[in-house]
């Protein structure tokens, strides 16, 4: 009788352990949130896009990285913006080479303050459809910013994240109005996932690489 009770309790413990591991460690796994730096009524967000992440488990995947308030680059695409700000100002360092858009419609800058983005200092409202390496697209807010890629022949290209500004890059800045509190997804819409069908598998479908969330609260 006691043997049976012990056996039943042991089995129960194993099953509960399985549930805990399954639930907490595997399914809930998400990159940590990175906070924006608040500058008056502007939330400053600094991002970079790289050609290959360079680390386990997917060293060859393209990826976004976000800079946390202490200046360190985090492998995360969950960005927290305080609700009290009026405008989100994004500075994005683009280290990857061009792939080109599948749908040239996304070559047009939409939803930003002033309707433009600044590429290496010059204001731009649309690009050539073959030039973006990635885009920063937030469909819920109708924001779309194509990110022109680095020339394929450029010297000193970055190969492993996190990249620094001494390597070949484009600096793109844009702003959009802080939306109401909530979660707003962003994604890349260039088919940049090498090795996957239509370039849209792998990193393009994984949060932390080419997909993320802006959480306003």
């Amino acid at each position: 009788m006691r043997a049976r009770l012990l056996g039943a309790v042991a089995t129960l413990a194993v099953l509960i352990g399985f549930v805990v591991v399954y639930f907490i460690f595997i399914l809930e796994e998400a990159p940590p949130a990175v906070s924006a730096v608040v500058n008056g009524s502007t939330a400053e967000v600094t991002l970079q896009t790289v050609a290959s992440y360079g680390r386990h488990p997917y060293p060859d995947w393209v990826s976004y990285l976000a800079r946390d308030p202490s200046g360190k680059w985090q492998h995360s695409t969950i960005i927290h913006v305080p609700a009290g700000t009026q405008v989100v100002h994004v500075t994005l360092y683009e280290y990857d080479t061009s792939t080109g858009l599948r749908n040239p419609f996304f070559a047009y800058v939409r939803g930003t303050v002033g309707g433009t983005m600044s590429v290496n200092g010059a204001p731009v409202s649309y690009v050539n459809a073959a030039s973006p390496a990635h885009t920063f697209t937030m469909p819920d807010l109708n924001v779309n910013v194509p990110l022109p890629g680095v020339n394929a022949n450029a010297k000193n290209q970055c190969s492993v994240a996190p990249c620094n500004t001494s390597e070949a890059h484009n600096t793109i800045t844009f702003s959009f109005r802080t939306p109401k509190p909530g979660n707003y997804r962003f994604q890349c819409i260039v088919p940049c996932a090498l090795g996957f069908l239509y370039g849209f598998g792998g990193p393009m479908q994984t949060i932390g690489y080419m997909d993320g969330m802006i959480e306003v609260s």
């Binding site: 792939t99 599948r102 749908n103 040239p104 419609f105 070559a107 047009y108 939409r110 409202s125 649309y126 050539n128 459809a129 697209t137 469909p139 819920d140 109708n142 779309n144 997804r185 994604q187 819409i189 088919p191 940049c192 996932a193 090498l194 090795g195 996957f196 069908l197 239509y198 370039g199 849209f200 393009m204 479908q205 994984t206 949060i207 997909d211």
Partner: protein
Amino acid sequence: MSTQSARAGEPNHARNFAILWAVATAIMVPVMIWVIGPHIPPGDMTNDTRAQHDVNVVLSTLAMPVLMMVWTFLAYAIVNFRAGRSEAIADGPPLRGGPRIQLTWIAVTAFMVVGLAAYGTIDLLTAAGHSGVGSGEGPNPLAKPASAGKALQVQVIGQQWFWSFRYPAYGGVETPTLEIPVNTDVEFHVTSLDVVHSFWAIELGVKADAVPGADNTAFVTAYRKGSFQIRCNELCGLWHGHMNSTGHVVSGPAFTQWIAAQETKYAPVTKQLPPYSTSYYPIPTRNG
């Protein structure tokens, strides 16, 4: 069952059951038609939704006698056909089947089913002005309204994970939001650039799968101005549940103004778009 002479003192179960069933049906059918019916989705914004609403009311009403039959039977059996409380287990009467009842049942169900199929076919092909009730009919629609081909053509492009819309009659301009004029026949051509999506304009009553390399045609005419939800209805990857948009039905002049503004705004990009076609083959197939 009912014509076998009942044992003396035993109630006429067949007659009692039939009465209960008739009464229940007589109550529920009008309730369905007049009380619940008007609230059944999808509303009356377009010719398609009105036709879908009518079909739903008809089917719900026809379901009432069937539902009531089984429910009254179960209730009747639970009350009247219980075993006694005695310890000894008594057997029921050895009824193995009645050919007449079986044949009647088969005939009635067959008649209902064939009737429903005929009704469904006729409705699909002729209702809502032969619009196909808003369903995606593929590249060669069977139910075509009179204005097919001459209606306002709107191409719905599904891509992971965003809907965009092209208006071939307006220079092939591509817009991120959908607006259609009221009281105008609209012909949707739904396609996809990558995986299978499904264009569901809920209050418009239009549902058509977006299959890459294919053209799915659906027709609608909106009778009221307002907005409608657009949702992706076929699992298409990570942000499938977030592939939402809001469309608007606006007045004719407002639409003309809007589309002209879109043409001006997106002119630099429209130049770069491929020429309008009912399907697009995105290349390359596999990068790397």
